[in-house]
Symmetry: C2
Subunit: 312 residues, 2 copies
């Protein structure tokens, strides 16, 4: 097969060996595979995949068609259109994935566009609903709202009946956020735009104290990205007075059991909204897989409004 | 009645007016009232009580005998021995307290000693079991373990089947912690004594990063005291990698409904252990209420091994 390959820090699209198919796995002919910040970190050598996963093929999500399955897979999925999150090596013509991670793609969803759905939507779903416990009528701020995860979070928060604000540094980004049904603000305008019940932190850096200041009593800050700075000052007394929670996570190192459970919950609760059109794949641009170097360069430089996806 | 009165930052025991009895309240002839750090802060003008509570009488907990009750109290409690937490004004010969905050004291528990039980035990119970979700077999570190809340936390964590460590700066403090069934360490020895599933932070200050470093994946840090420093550096990336939670709270500003619910849960789950002797009032010393100035001076200066209680 051909795959996106990392070699000495650069990215190319080239021939490599096919993946082996495990007993509990599906072999998927990939149609689309979204780009994520973790791919760029992995290409730079800063974010190795979990043990047992090829280090030289990036990619955390895929869409495609099942062409074979292992002997222990409990239901027949051959021929089905599926999407999912995996620990790495998704940006390839073929992926082998545990059957519990495969989410059946509803009719009407474009197969390539679906390749940009799972990582962003599942990450945002887990952060907003499982970790922060976001509820109808609450006020939520998404810090870094125009990218893949951010725009998925905004769309789901709006759908859940939360009063939703999102930050973007650019005018196009803010227009995109408003198009999703939220109020858009500049990242420096956090102070004065609270109070918030939930802050979803995707960028990190200097506004952390402002977010805590603007938090409502019993508010929750969930951190899932820190690209603009990891070390912040935390005022524990203010945290006490607000009875607040700061929590953080990544999806990637979790056990297969836990990933499967999240995929199941996402399938039941969110895929119907993708099927109805209430939630849409937040595709910004699709690139032929052979143009992976260009897609990676764009990811690092352009103003983000949704997902960049490689088409295979 | 006589009460401990704050005047111009100093503490004395003097005559003042009796409390009024509300429809949903009990009037309690106080036997014991424990001292807490909040009382010293309040005496220094730094921790005013919630609205509607006298500012010039400190005290967050009491034990005593019900001598009258309001017309809307749903069960007859007159003559019962009760203890409880309230928003302030507990260090007095009489207190008026919402009936849902009153916990019936089991037989065999000394009435004066019981006056040092509720604030420490309920605060520690809420932090360890409701907020941190401490479970059997987990490893827990109590930072500041020889004081009232700390020693209550250690005793309950041991009883819950957790592997328990506690810090104290003094040798006597560490001996006291070991007597409760835990391992005692110096506060500077956090590094290397992990990993911990739960850290209960009672003192704040510089060891926060060490606590996070020593936290196990999915660990929880619960902050309920910051006397030695409120502003700490938090490494959000490390928090993500550990999938950790930092949360904080105070009991005092909570609604009566919430306080009543915690008292009910504490009555059901912990009072039987106080009745059986598996948990003991952690009394360090009782003082006649007239010696309140001496008790306050001791609270600020001595090596803490449990509770200081005023006897009325």
């Amino acid at each position: 097969m051909k795959a996106v390959l990392i070699q000495n820090g650069s990215v190319r699209f080239a021939e490599t060996e096919d993946p082996a198919l495990g007993d509990e796995q599906l072999l998927v002919k990939v149609a689309g595979a979204g780009l994520n910040a973790a791919d760029l970190m992995q290409a730079a050598g800063n974010y190795p995949p979990p043990p047992g996963i090829r280090e030289d093929i990036p990619g955390l999500e895929f869409s495609g068609t099942v062409i074979a399955q292992g002997t222990s897979v409990p239901r027949n999925l051959v021929g089905k259109r599926v999407m999912g999150v995996l620990g790495g090596a998704a940006q390839a013509e073929l992926v082998a994935v545990h059957h519990s991670s495969a989410i059946v793609i509803p009719e009407g969803l474009d197969l390539v566009e679906a390749g940009g759905v799972p990582e962003a939507y599942i990450t945002a779903y887990d952060a907003l609903f499982i970790q922060a416990g976001l509820s109808i009528g609450e006020r939520v701020l998404v810090r870094g709202a125009s990218g893949g995860v951010g725009s998925a979070a905004v769309a789901m928060a709006v759908l859940a009946g939360a009063e939703t604000l999102g930050t973007s540094r650019t005018e196009e980004g803010r227009a995109y956020i408003e198009g999703l049904g939220a109020k858009a603000i500049d990242p420096d305008e956090v102070l004065g735009n609270g109070p918030f019940d939930v802050v979803l932190e995707l960028i990190g850096g200097m506004q952390f104290h402002s977010c805590l200041s603007e938090l409502r009593s019993r508010g929750r800050i969930v951190v899932i990205g820190v690209g603009q700075g990891s070390r912040v000052e935390l005022d524990l007394r203010l945290l006490m007075m607000k009875r607040a929670i700061v929590r953080a996570s990544t999806l990637r190192p979790r056990s297969q059991g836990e990933k499967g459970e999240i995929a199941r919950q996402f399938s039941e609760r969110m895929v119907p909204h993708l099927a109805s059109g209430a939630l849409k794949p937040n595709l910004q641009r699709a690139y032929p897989a052979a143009d992976a170097p260009g897609a990676y360069a764009d990811f690092a430089s352009i103003s983000k409004q949704g997902k960049l996806v490689l088409a295979f």
